[in-house]
Amino acid sequence: MSEIVCDRISKIWNPDTNEANLAIDDISFSVEPGEFLVIIGPSGCGKSTLLSMIAGLDTPTSGAIRFRDDVITEPSPHRSMIFQQASLFPWLSVIENVAFGLSLQGLGKRERQQRAKEYLQQVGLLKSANRYPHQLSGGMQQRACIARALCLGTDVLLMDEPFAALDVQTRHQMQKFLLDIWQGTGKTVIFVTHHIDEAVYLADRVLILTANPGRTLAMVPVDMPRPRDMMSKGFDYHRNLFIEHLRSEVVKAFEEQELAEMFDTRIK
Protein backbone atom coordinates (compact mmCIF):
# COMPACT_ATOMS: atom_id res chain seq x y z
CA MET A 1 0.00 0.00 0.00
CA SER A 2 1.35 3.36 -0.95
CA GLU A 3 1.82 5.95 1.80
CA ILE A 4 0.66 8.93 -0.25
CA VAL A 5 -1.26 8.83 -3.53
CA CYS A 6 -1.99 11.91 -5.60
CA ASP A 7 -4.68 11.01 -8.10
CA ARG A 8 -5.08 13.43 -11.01
CA ILE A 9 -5.10 16.53 -8.86
CA SER A 10 -5.60 20.05 -10.18
CA LYS A 11 -5.71 23.33 -8.35
CA ILE A 12 -7.35 26.47 -9.66
CA TRP A 13 -6.96 29.67 -7.68
CA ASN A 14 -10.03 31.91 -7.55
CA PRO A 15 -12.20 29.58 -9.61
CA ASP A 16 -15.33 31.07 -11.23
CA THR A 17 -13.83 34.55 -11.37
CA ASN A 18 -12.00 36.59 -13.98
CA GLU A 19 -8.77 35.95 -12.14
CA ALA A 20 -9.09 32.18 -12.24
CA ASN A 21 -5.60 30.76 -12.45
CA LEU A 22 -4.63 27.17 -13.07
CA ALA A 23 -1.75 26.44 -10.71
CA ILE A 24 -1.54 22.67 -10.87
CA ASP A 25 -2.76 20.64 -13.80
CA ASP A 26 -3.50 16.95 -13.56
CA ILE A 27 -0.62 15.65 -11.48
CA SER A 28 -0.54 12.01 -10.40
CA PHE A 29 2.09 10.15 -8.43
CA SER A 30 2.46 7.93 -5.42
CA VAL A 31 5.00 7.67 -2.62
CA GLU A 32 5.96 4.41 -0.97
CA PRO A 33 6.47 4.08 2.80
CA GLY A 34 10.00 5.07 3.77
CA GLU A 35 10.69 6.64 0.39
CA PHE A 36 12.53 9.94 -0.11
CA LEU A 37 10.78 11.82 -2.89
CA VAL A 38 12.07 15.18 -4.07
CA ILE A 39 9.84 17.53 -6.05
CA ILE A 40 11.80 19.99 -8.12
CA GLY A 41 10.71 22.84 -10.33
CA PRO A 42 11.00 26.58 -10.73
CA SER A 43 8.98 29.10 -8.71
CA GLY A 44 5.39 29.16 -9.86
CA CYS A 45 5.23 25.47 -10.63
CA GLY A 46 2.93 25.01 -7.67
CA LYS A 47 5.24 22.74 -5.72
CA SER A 48 4.53 24.50 -2.41
CA THR A 49 0.81 24.38 -3.15
CA LEU A 50 1.11 20.69 -3.89
CA LEU A 51 2.84 20.13 -0.57
CA SER A 52 0.32 22.10 1.47
CA MET A 53 -2.46 20.10 -0.18
CA ILE A 54 -0.75 16.89 0.92
CA ALA A 55 -0.49 18.41 4.39
CA GLY A 56 -4.21 19.10 4.30
CA LEU A 57 -3.89 22.87 4.63
CA ASP A 58 -5.41 23.26 1.17
CA THR A 59 -7.75 21.17 -0.95
CA PRO A 60 -7.37 20.32 -4.64
CA THR A 61 -9.98 21.70 -7.01
CA SER A 62 -10.30 18.27 -8.62
CA GLY A 63 -8.76 14.89 -8.01
CA ALA A 64 -7.93 13.37 -4.64
CA ILE A 65 -4.95 12.93 -2.37
CA ARG A 66 -4.92 9.84 -0.21
CA PHE A 67 -2.91 8.93 2.83
CA ARG A 68 -3.01 5.14 3.29
CA ASP A 69 -6.28 4.97 1.34
CA ASP A 70 -7.95 7.76 3.32
CA VAL A 71 -8.73 10.91 1.39
CA ILE A 72 -6.95 13.87 2.97
CA THR A 73 -9.35 16.61 4.03
CA GLU A 74 -7.57 18.27 6.93
CA PRO A 75 -4.15 18.43 8.58
CA SER A 76 -3.09 15.56 10.77
CA PRO A 77 -0.07 14.87 12.98
CA HIS A 78 0.66 11.89 10.70
CA ARG A 79 1.88 14.34 8.10
CA SER A 80 4.07 17.07 9.49
CA MET A 81 5.25 20.02 7.48
CA ILE A 82 8.57 21.81 7.77
CA PHE A 83 8.40 25.28 6.26
CA GLN A 84 11.04 27.37 4.55
CA GLN A 85 11.18 29.88 7.38
CA ALA A 86 11.75 28.28 10.71
CA SER A 87 8.33 28.29 12.31
CA LEU A 88 9.15 27.96 16.00
CA PHE A 89 6.85 29.97 18.23
CA PRO A 90 8.98 32.82 19.58
CA TRP A 91 7.16 32.95 22.91
CA LEU A 92 7.98 29.33 23.81
CA SER A 93 11.34 27.90 24.82
CA VAL A 94 12.93 25.40 22.45
CA ILE A 95 11.83 22.42 24.50
CA GLU A 96 8.25 23.69 24.77
CA ASN A 97 8.27 24.26 21.01
CA VAL A 98 9.33 20.68 20.40
CA ALA A 99 6.68 19.50 22.87
CA PHE A 100 3.99 21.75 21.37
CA GLY A 101 2.25 18.96 19.48
CA LEU A 102 2.16 16.83 22.62
CA SER A 103 0.72 19.68 24.67
CA LEU A 104 -2.09 19.91 22.09
CA GLN A 105 -2.86 16.29 22.91
CA GLY A 106 -3.12 17.27 26.55
CA LEU A 107 0.08 15.65 27.81
CA GLY A 108 1.35 16.92 31.17
CA LYS A 109 4.36 19.16 31.32
CA ARG A 110 6.79 16.64 32.79
CA GLU A 111 5.81 13.86 30.46
CA ARG A 112 5.96 15.93 27.30
CA GLN A 113 9.27 17.53 28.21
CA GLN A 114 10.69 14.10 28.88
CA ARG A 115 9.76 13.02 25.39
CA ALA A 116 10.84 16.28 23.82
CA LYS A 117 14.26 15.81 25.39
CA GLU A 118 14.79 12.53 23.55
CA TYR A 119 14.25 14.22 20.24
CA LEU A 120 16.28 17.27 21.16
CA GLN A 121 19.11 14.87 21.86
CA GLN A 122 18.56 13.23 18.51
CA VAL A 123 18.94 16.55 16.67
CA GLY A 124 21.79 17.69 18.91
CA LEU A 125 19.97 20.55 20.63
CA LEU A 126 19.73 19.26 24.18
CA LYS A 127 21.95 22.04 25.48
CA SER A 128 19.67 24.66 23.95
CA ALA A 129 16.48 23.22 25.43
CA ASN A 130 15.73 26.22 27.61
CA ARG A 131 16.76 28.91 25.19
CA TYR A 132 14.35 30.90 23.06
CA PRO A 133 14.15 30.64 19.26
CA HIS A 134 15.68 34.06 18.59
CA GLN A 135 18.80 32.84 20.37
CA LEU A 136 19.31 30.01 17.87
CA SER A 137 20.93 30.07 14.44
CA GLY A 138 18.84 29.31 11.36
CA GLY A 139 20.11 25.74 11.09
CA MET A 140 19.42 25.05 14.76
CA GLN A 141 15.90 26.43 14.38
CA GLN A 142 15.20 24.09 11.47
CA ARG A 143 16.55 21.16 13.46
CA ALA A 144 14.21 22.08 16.29
CA CYS A 145 11.33 22.12 13.77
CA ILE A 146 12.31 18.64 12.63
CA ALA A 147 12.48 17.47 16.24
CA ARG A 148 9.00 18.90 16.80
CA ALA A 149 7.63 16.88 13.89
CA LEU A 150 9.42 13.68 14.97
CA CYS A 151 8.27 14.15 18.56
CA LEU A 152 4.67 13.70 17.43
CA GLY A 153 5.56 10.38 15.84
CA THR A 154 4.72 11.72 12.40
CA ASP A 155 4.85 9.25 9.51
CA VAL A 156 5.44 11.63 6.62
CA LEU A 157 7.74 14.63 6.68
CA LEU A 158 6.65 17.27 4.18
CA MET A 159 9.51 19.67 3.66
CA ASP A 160 8.99 22.92 1.77
CA GLU A 161 12.45 24.19 0.79
CA PRO A 162 13.48 23.86 4.41
CA PHE A 163 17.13 24.70 3.85
CA ALA A 164 16.72 27.44 1.25
CA ALA A 165 17.26 30.24 3.77
CA LEU A 166 20.47 28.75 5.15
CA ASP A 167 24.02 29.49 4.07
CA VAL A 168 25.79 26.95 1.88
CA GLN A 169 27.86 25.28 4.62
CA THR A 170 24.97 24.90 7.04
CA ARG A 171 22.80 23.77 4.21
CA HIS A 172 25.03 20.88 3.35
CA GLN A 173 25.34 19.86 6.97
CA MET A 174 21.58 19.92 7.26
CA GLN A 175 21.21 17.71 4.20
CA LYS A 176 23.52 15.11 5.74
CA PHE A 177 21.72 15.47 9.03
CA LEU A 178 18.35 14.94 7.36
CA LEU A 179 19.61 11.79 5.65
CA ASP A 180 20.86 10.49 9.00
CA ILE A 181 17.48 11.11 10.56
CA TRP A 182 15.65 9.60 7.61
CA GLN A 183 17.81 6.48 7.56
CA GLY A 184 17.57 6.17 11.34
CA THR A 185 13.79 6.49 11.57
CA GLY A 186 12.49 5.17 8.25
CA LYS A 187 10.06 8.06 7.82
CA THR A 188 8.60 8.91 4.44
CA VAL A 189 9.89 12.24 3.16
CA ILE A 190 8.50 14.52 0.46
CA PHE A 191 10.98 17.30 -0.08
CA VAL A 192 10.43 20.35 -2.27
CA THR A 193 13.38 22.27 -3.62
CA HIS A 194 14.55 24.25 -6.60
CA HIS A 195 18.19 23.28 -6.19
CA ILE A 196 19.24 20.53 -8.55
CA ASP A 197 22.21 19.36 -6.47
CA GLU A 198 20.07 19.10 -3.38
CA ALA A 199 17.63 16.92 -5.29
CA VAL A 200 20.34 14.60 -6.60
CA TYR A 201 22.01 14.39 -3.20
CA LEU A 202 18.87 13.46 -1.29
CA ALA A 203 16.34 11.73 -3.47
CA ASP A 204 15.25 8.18 -4.13
CA ARG A 205 13.10 9.58 -6.89
CA VAL A 206 12.73 13.08 -8.29
CA LEU A 207 9.48 14.50 -9.61
CA ILE A 208 10.18 17.33 -12.04
CA LEU A 209 7.42 19.86 -12.57
CA THR A 210 6.89 22.47 -15.27
CA ALA A 211 6.04 26.06 -14.48
CA ASN A 212 2.70 27.81 -14.87
CA PRO A 213 0.75 25.63 -14.59
CA GLY A 214 2.55 22.87 -12.75
CA ARG A 215 2.49 19.65 -14.74
CA THR A 216 4.50 16.48 -14.41
CA LEU A 217 7.56 16.78 -16.65
CA ALA A 218 9.27 13.58 -15.55
CA MET A 219 9.69 11.18 -12.67
CA VAL A 220 13.34 10.19 -12.45
CA PRO A 221 14.78 7.59 -10.06
CA VAL A 222 18.21 8.30 -8.62
CA ASP A 223 19.88 4.92 -8.23
CA MET A 224 23.05 5.75 -6.37
CA PRO A 225 24.30 4.43 -3.06
CA ARG A 226 24.50 6.88 -0.15
CA PRO A 227 26.39 8.85 0.95
CA ARG A 228 26.63 10.39 -2.48
CA ASP A 229 29.75 12.10 -3.65
CA MET A 230 28.93 15.31 -5.47
CA MET A 231 32.10 14.99 -7.52
CA SER A 232 31.32 11.49 -8.79
CA LYS A 233 30.38 10.63 -12.34
CA GLY A 234 27.00 9.32 -11.35
CA PHE A 235 26.19 12.57 -9.61
CA ASP A 236 27.25 14.53 -12.68
CA TYR A 237 25.14 12.31 -14.87
CA HIS A 238 22.01 12.95 -12.84
CA ARG A 239 22.73 16.63 -12.52
CA ASN A 240 23.04 16.95 -16.28
CA LEU A 241 19.95 14.84 -16.78
CA PHE A 242 17.90 17.24 -14.66
CA ILE A 243 19.39 20.30 -16.30
CA GLU A 244 18.51 18.79 -19.67
CA HIS A 245 14.95 18.12 -18.55
CA LEU A 246 14.54 21.60 -17.21
CA ARG A 247 16.20 23.26 -20.19
CA SER A 248 13.18 22.40 -22.28
CA GLU A 249 11.36 24.70 -19.92
CA VAL A 250 13.74 27.56 -20.57
CA VAL A 251 11.72 29.09 -23.33
CA LYS A 252 8.76 29.13 -21.05
CA ALA A 253 7.80 31.00 -18.02
CA PHE A 254 10.78 31.36 -15.78
CA GLU A 255 12.74 34.45 -15.33
CA GLU A 256 16.43 34.57 -16.08
CA GLN A 257 17.48 35.12 -12.53
CA GLU A 258 15.54 32.13 -11.36
CA LEU A 259 17.15 30.01 -14.05
CA ALA A 260 20.64 31.13 -13.21
CA GLU A 261 20.00 30.24 -9.62
CA MET A 262 18.73 26.79 -10.51
CA PHE A 263 21.63 25.91 -12.72
CA ASP A 264 24.30 27.32 -10.49
CA THR A 265 23.63 25.58 -7.26
CA ARG A 266 26.64 23.34 -6.91
CA ILE A 267 27.53 23.15 -3.30
CA LYS A 268 31.05 24.38 -3.01
Binding site: P90, W91, L104, G124, Q135, Q173, F177
Partner: protein
Amino acid sequence: MPKLDSSIPKNMQLKSSVTPATPRTTGARGRWWQGVGTSVMWWCLSLGLFIGIWELVTALGWVNTLILPPPHEFIAEIGNQEQFLAPRIGVERTGGNFVLLTAIVATLKRVVAGLILGFIAAIGVGGLACYFKIFGKLTLPVITLLAPIAPIAWIPFAIMAFGIGDSAAIFVVFIGIFFLLTLATVNAINNVNQLYINTARVLGASRRQVMFKVILPAVIPDLFFILRINFFAAWMAVLAAEMVGVNTGLGAIVMVGRQMFNAKLMFLGMAVIGVVGYLLDVGFRQLQQRVLWWKGSAQI
Protein backbone atom coordinates in the same frame (compact mmCIF):
# COMPACT_ATOMS: atom_id res chain seq x y z
CA MET B 1 34.60 20.80 -1.15
CA PRO B 2 35.97 20.14 2.31
CA LYS B 3 35.23 16.70 3.71
CA LEU B 4 32.89 17.11 6.61
CA ASP B 5 32.69 14.89 9.61
CA SER B 6 29.78 12.51 9.29
CA SER B 7 28.73 12.85 12.91
CA ILE B 8 26.78 15.95 12.13
CA PRO B 9 24.72 16.55 15.24
CA LYS B 10 27.75 16.54 17.50
CA ASN B 11 29.61 18.66 15.03
CA MET B 12 26.83 21.22 14.90
CA GLN B 13 26.35 21.26 18.60
CA LEU B 14 29.93 22.36 18.87
CA LYS B 15 29.11 25.20 16.57
CA SER B 16 25.97 26.03 18.49
CA SER B 17 27.78 26.44 21.76
CA VAL B 18 30.01 28.99 20.09
CA THR B 19 27.12 31.05 18.76
CA PRO B 20 26.58 33.79 21.35
CA ALA B 21 23.00 34.27 22.44
CA THR B 22 23.07 37.92 23.34
CA PRO B 23 26.30 39.77 22.82
CA ARG B 24 26.71 41.80 25.97
CA THR B 25 30.26 42.79 26.58
CA THR B 26 31.57 44.61 29.60
CA GLY B 27 32.27 47.56 27.34
CA ALA B 28 28.62 47.78 26.36
CA ARG B 29 27.58 47.59 30.01
CA GLY B 30 29.94 50.41 30.89
CA ARG B 31 28.41 52.53 28.19
CA TRP B 32 24.96 51.68 29.51
CA TRP B 33 25.83 53.08 32.94
CA GLN B 34 27.32 56.14 31.38
CA GLY B 35 24.12 56.60 29.39
CA VAL B 36 22.00 56.50 32.56
CA GLY B 37 24.34 58.94 34.27
CA THR B 38 24.14 61.44 31.44
CA SER B 39 20.39 61.21 31.16
CA VAL B 40 19.99 61.71 34.93
CA MET B 41 22.20 64.76 34.69
CA TRP B 42 20.10 66.28 31.90
CA TRP B 43 16.93 65.53 33.85
CA CYS B 44 18.25 67.38 36.88
CA LEU B 45 19.49 70.28 34.79
CA SER B 46 16.23 70.63 32.92
CA LEU B 47 14.10 70.40 36.04
CA GLY B 48 16.43 72.67 38.00
CA LEU B 49 16.34 75.32 35.29
CA PHE B 50 12.56 75.22 35.13
CA ILE B 51 12.09 75.46 38.90
CA GLY B 52 14.86 78.06 39.16
CA ILE B 53 13.23 80.40 36.65
CA TRP B 54 9.86 79.91 38.33
CA GLU B 55 11.29 80.70 41.77
CA LEU B 56 13.14 83.70 40.35
CA VAL B 57 10.07 85.12 38.65
CA THR B 58 8.00 84.83 41.84
CA ALA B 59 10.82 86.12 44.06
CA LEU B 60 11.16 89.21 41.88
CA GLY B 61 7.45 89.81 42.32
CA TRP B 62 6.69 89.70 38.59
CA VAL B 63 3.64 87.54 39.13
CA ASN B 64 0.95 87.30 41.75
CA THR B 65 2.03 84.46 44.06
CA LEU B 66 -1.54 84.01 45.15
CA ILE B 67 -2.30 82.73 41.65
CA LEU B 68 1.10 81.30 40.70
CA PRO B 69 2.83 80.21 43.92
CA PRO B 70 6.54 79.22 43.74
CA PRO B 71 7.32 75.49 43.92
CA HIS B 72 8.76 75.51 47.43
CA GLU B 73 5.53 76.96 48.75
CA PHE B 74 3.09 74.58 47.17
CA ILE B 75 5.27 71.57 47.88
CA ALA B 76 5.34 72.62 51.53
CA GLU B 77 1.55 72.41 51.38
CA ILE B 78 1.95 68.65 51.78
CA GLY B 79 2.45 69.26 55.51
CA ASN B 80 -0.89 70.97 55.68
CA GLN B 81 -3.16 68.15 54.68
CA GLU B 82 -5.77 68.60 57.35
CA GLN B 83 -7.46 71.18 55.20
CA PHE B 84 -8.02 68.68 52.39
CA LEU B 85 -10.41 67.04 54.75
CA ALA B 86 -12.91 69.86 54.65
CA PRO B 87 -14.41 68.51 51.45
CA ARG B 88 -13.96 64.81 51.13
CA ILE B 89 -10.97 64.18 48.84
CA GLY B 90 -9.64 60.84 49.85
CA VAL B 91 -12.15 58.07 49.63
CA GLU B 92 -11.34 56.90 53.11
CA ARG B 93 -10.17 59.17 55.84
CA THR B 94 -7.05 57.52 57.06
CA GLY B 95 -5.96 60.48 59.11
CA GLY B 96 -4.60 63.94 58.70
CA ASN B 97 -1.22 63.21 57.20
CA PHE B 98 -2.23 60.61 54.68
CA VAL B 99 -5.02 62.35 52.85
CA LEU B 100 -2.84 62.89 49.81
CA LEU B 101 -1.90 59.24 49.83
CA THR B 102 -5.53 58.12 49.98
CA ALA B 103 -6.30 60.44 47.08
CA ILE B 104 -3.51 58.86 45.03
CA VAL B 105 -4.69 55.38 45.95
CA ALA B 106 -8.26 56.27 45.04
CA THR B 107 -7.26 57.49 41.58
CA LEU B 108 -4.87 54.61 40.93
CA LYS B 109 -7.47 52.08 41.94
CA ARG B 110 -9.89 53.46 39.38
CA VAL B 111 -7.34 53.63 36.57
CA VAL B 112 -5.95 50.15 37.18
CA ALA B 113 -9.37 48.56 37.59
CA GLY B 114 -10.62 50.24 34.42
CA LEU B 115 -7.54 49.26 32.44
CA ILE B 116 -7.62 45.63 33.52
CA LEU B 117 -11.34 45.29 32.83
CA GLY B 118 -10.98 47.05 29.49
CA PHE B 119 -7.99 44.93 28.46
CA ILE B 120 -9.71 41.66 29.26
CA ALA B 121 -13.03 42.67 27.73
CA ALA B 122 -11.38 43.98 24.57
CA ILE B 123 -9.38 40.79 24.02
CA GLY B 124 -12.49 38.75 24.72
CA VAL B 125 -14.76 40.64 22.34
CA GLY B 126 -12.03 41.03 19.70
CA GLY B 127 -11.26 37.32 19.90
CA LEU B 128 -14.93 36.36 19.64
CA ALA B 129 -15.39 38.72 16.71
CA CYS B 130 -12.62 36.89 14.86
CA TYR B 131 -13.65 33.42 15.99
CA PHE B 132 -17.34 33.77 15.19
CA LYS B 133 -17.43 35.71 11.94
CA ILE B 134 -21.12 36.56 12.26
CA PHE B 135 -20.63 38.00 15.73
CA GLY B 136 -17.81 40.12 14.32
CA LYS B 137 -19.90 41.36 11.43
CA LEU B 138 -22.69 42.32 13.81
CA THR B 139 -20.59 44.11 16.41
CA LEU B 140 -17.58 45.65 14.68
CA PRO B 141 -19.41 48.40 12.76
CA VAL B 142 -20.98 49.66 16.00
CA ILE B 143 -17.67 49.51 17.84
CA THR B 144 -15.98 51.37 14.99
CA LEU B 145 -18.56 54.14 15.33
CA LEU B 146 -18.31 54.32 19.12
CA ALA B 147 -14.51 54.31 19.23
CA PRO B 148 -13.97 57.97 18.28
CA ILE B 149 -16.10 59.25 21.17
CA ALA B 150 -13.62 60.74 23.60
CA PRO B 151 -13.65 59.09 27.03
CA ILE B 152 -14.31 62.50 28.58
CA ALA B 153 -17.55 62.71 26.66
CA TRP B 154 -18.78 59.64 28.53
CA ILE B 155 -18.38 61.28 31.95
CA PRO B 156 -21.86 62.86 32.16
CA PHE B 157 -23.48 59.57 31.22
CA ALA B 158 -21.28 57.64 33.67
CA ILE B 159 -22.25 59.88 36.55
CA MET B 160 -25.92 59.69 35.65
CA ALA B 161 -25.81 55.93 35.31
CA PHE B 162 -23.51 54.97 38.18
CA GLY B 163 -23.80 57.92 40.51
CA ILE B 164 -20.89 59.64 42.17
CA GLY B 165 -18.14 57.21 43.10
CA ASP B 166 -15.70 54.60 41.94
CA SER B 167 -17.90 52.82 39.43
CA ALA B 168 -18.47 55.94 37.37
CA ALA B 169 -14.74 56.61 37.14
CA ILE B 170 -13.91 52.99 36.37
CA PHE B 171 -16.56 52.98 33.67
CA VAL B 172 -15.02 56.04 32.03
CA VAL B 173 -11.56 54.42 31.96
CA PHE B 174 -13.03 51.18 30.71
CA ILE B 175 -14.99 52.78 27.91
CA GLY B 176 -12.01 54.93 27.02
CA ILE B 177 -9.87 51.95 26.08
CA PHE B 178 -12.39 49.22 25.35
CA PHE B 179 -13.49 50.21 21.84
CA LEU B 180 -10.05 51.15 20.58
CA LEU B 181 -8.47 48.07 22.04
CA THR B 182 -11.17 45.80 20.60
CA LEU B 183 -10.48 47.15 17.12
CA ALA B 184 -6.77 46.78 17.75
CA THR B 185 -7.30 43.17 18.83
CA VAL B 186 -9.17 42.34 15.64
CA ASN B 187 -6.45 44.02 13.62
CA ALA B 188 -3.67 42.23 15.47
CA ILE B 189 -5.37 38.85 15.10
CA ASN B 190 -5.78 39.38 11.37
CA ASN B 191 -2.09 40.17 11.14
CA VAL B 192 -0.81 37.09 12.95
CA ASN B 193 1.76 35.38 10.75
CA GLN B 194 -0.04 32.67 8.76
CA LEU B 195 3.06 30.51 9.18
CA TYR B 196 2.40 30.13 12.91
CA ILE B 197 -1.22 29.20 12.30
CA ASN B 198 -0.34 26.67 9.61
CA THR B 199 2.35 25.19 11.80
CA ALA B 200 -0.06 24.70 14.66
CA ARG B 201 -2.68 23.17 12.36
CA VAL B 202 -0.18 20.75 10.88
CA LEU B 203 0.76 19.72 14.41
CA GLY B 204 -2.87 18.85 15.00
CA ALA B 205 -4.28 21.96 16.67
CA SER B 206 -8.03 22.44 16.62
CA ARG B 207 -9.45 25.86 15.82
CA ARG B 208 -9.84 26.60 19.50
CA GLN B 209 -6.30 25.53 20.25
CA VAL B 210 -5.01 27.76 17.46
CA MET B 211 -6.90 30.62 19.08
CA PHE B 212 -5.63 30.09 22.60
CA LYS B 213 -2.17 28.65 22.04
CA VAL B 214 -1.03 30.62 19.01
CA ILE B 215 -3.10 33.69 18.26
CA LEU B 216 -3.47 34.90 21.83
CA PRO B 217 0.22 34.75 22.77
CA ALA B 218 1.13 36.23 19.40
CA VAL B 219 -1.07 39.32 19.79
CA ILE B 220 -0.64 40.14 23.47
CA PRO B 221 2.61 42.10 23.06
CA ASP B 222 1.04 44.27 20.35
CA LEU B 223 -2.03 44.85 22.47
CA PHE B 224 0.02 45.72 25.48
CA PHE B 225 1.79 48.37 23.45
CA ILE B 226 -1.53 49.85 22.36
CA LEU B 227 -2.77 49.73 25.94
CA ARG B 228 0.24 51.76 27.00
CA ILE B 229 -0.42 54.33 24.30
CA ASN B 230 -4.04 54.65 25.36
CA PHE B 231 -3.25 54.70 29.02
CA PHE B 232 -2.80 58.46 29.01
CA ALA B 233 -6.23 59.03 27.56
CA ALA B 234 -7.67 56.90 30.36
CA TRP B 235 -5.57 58.69 32.95
CA MET B 236 -6.86 62.06 31.76
CA ALA B 237 -10.41 60.83 31.64
CA VAL B 238 -10.40 59.66 35.23
CA LEU B 239 -8.92 62.95 36.42
CA ALA B 240 -11.55 64.88 34.52
CA ALA B 241 -14.23 62.67 36.03
CA GLU B 242 -12.86 63.37 39.49
CA MET B 243 -12.99 67.09 38.80
CA VAL B 244 -16.51 67.33 37.53
CA GLY B 245 -18.44 64.91 39.62
CA VAL B 246 -16.73 62.02 41.32
CA ASN B 247 -15.33 64.50 43.85
CA THR B 248 -12.62 62.32 45.33
CA GLY B 249 -9.09 61.51 44.22
CA LEU B 250 -6.30 63.56 42.67
CA GLY B 251 -8.49 65.42 40.19
CA ALA B 252 -10.67 66.56 43.06
CA ILE B 253 -7.70 68.06 44.92
CA VAL B 254 -7.07 70.43 42.03
CA MET B 255 -10.73 71.36 41.87
CA VAL B 256 -10.97 71.92 45.64
CA GLY B 257 -7.91 74.16 45.37
CA ARG B 258 -9.75 76.34 42.88
CA GLN B 259 -12.94 76.41 44.89
CA MET B 260 -11.11 77.48 48.04
CA PHE B 261 -8.97 79.91 46.04
CA ASN B 262 -5.91 78.02 47.26
CA ALA B 263 -3.49 78.00 44.33
CA LYS B 264 -0.90 76.15 46.39
CA LEU B 265 -3.23 73.20 46.78
CA MET B 266 -4.07 73.36 43.08
CA PHE B 267 -0.44 73.24 42.03
CA LEU B 268 0.37 70.54 44.54
CA GLY B 269 -2.38 68.43 42.99
CA MET B 270 -1.07 69.08 39.50
CA ALA B 271 2.48 68.21 40.49
CA VAL B 272 1.36 64.93 42.05
CA ILE B 273 -0.69 64.11 38.96
CA GLY B 274 2.37 64.66 36.80
CA VAL B 275 4.71 62.57 38.94
CA VAL B 276 2.27 59.70 39.42
CA GLY B 277 1.41 59.64 35.72
CA TYR B 278 5.08 59.53 34.83
CA LEU B 279 5.81 56.73 37.30
CA LEU B 280 2.89 54.74 35.93
CA ASP B 281 4.27 55.01 32.43
CA VAL B 282 7.68 53.87 33.65
CA GLY B 283 6.02 50.92 35.36
CA PHE B 284 4.13 50.08 32.19
CA ARG B 285 7.31 50.12 30.17
CA GLN B 286 8.94 47.70 32.62
CA LEU B 287 5.91 45.45 32.49
CA GLN B 288 5.90 45.58 28.72
CA GLN B 289 9.46 44.35 28.59
CA ARG B 290 8.50 41.46 30.83
CA VAL B 291 5.61 40.61 28.54
CA LEU B 292 7.97 40.78 25.58
CA TRP B 293 10.59 38.56 27.21
CA TRP B 294 10.78 36.38 24.14
CA LYS B 295 11.72 39.14 21.77
CA GLY B 296 15.31 40.17 21.36
CA SER B 297 15.89 43.64 22.74
CA ALA B 298 16.56 44.97 19.25
CA GLN B 299 13.04 44.08 18.19
CA ILE B 300 11.23 45.99 20.90
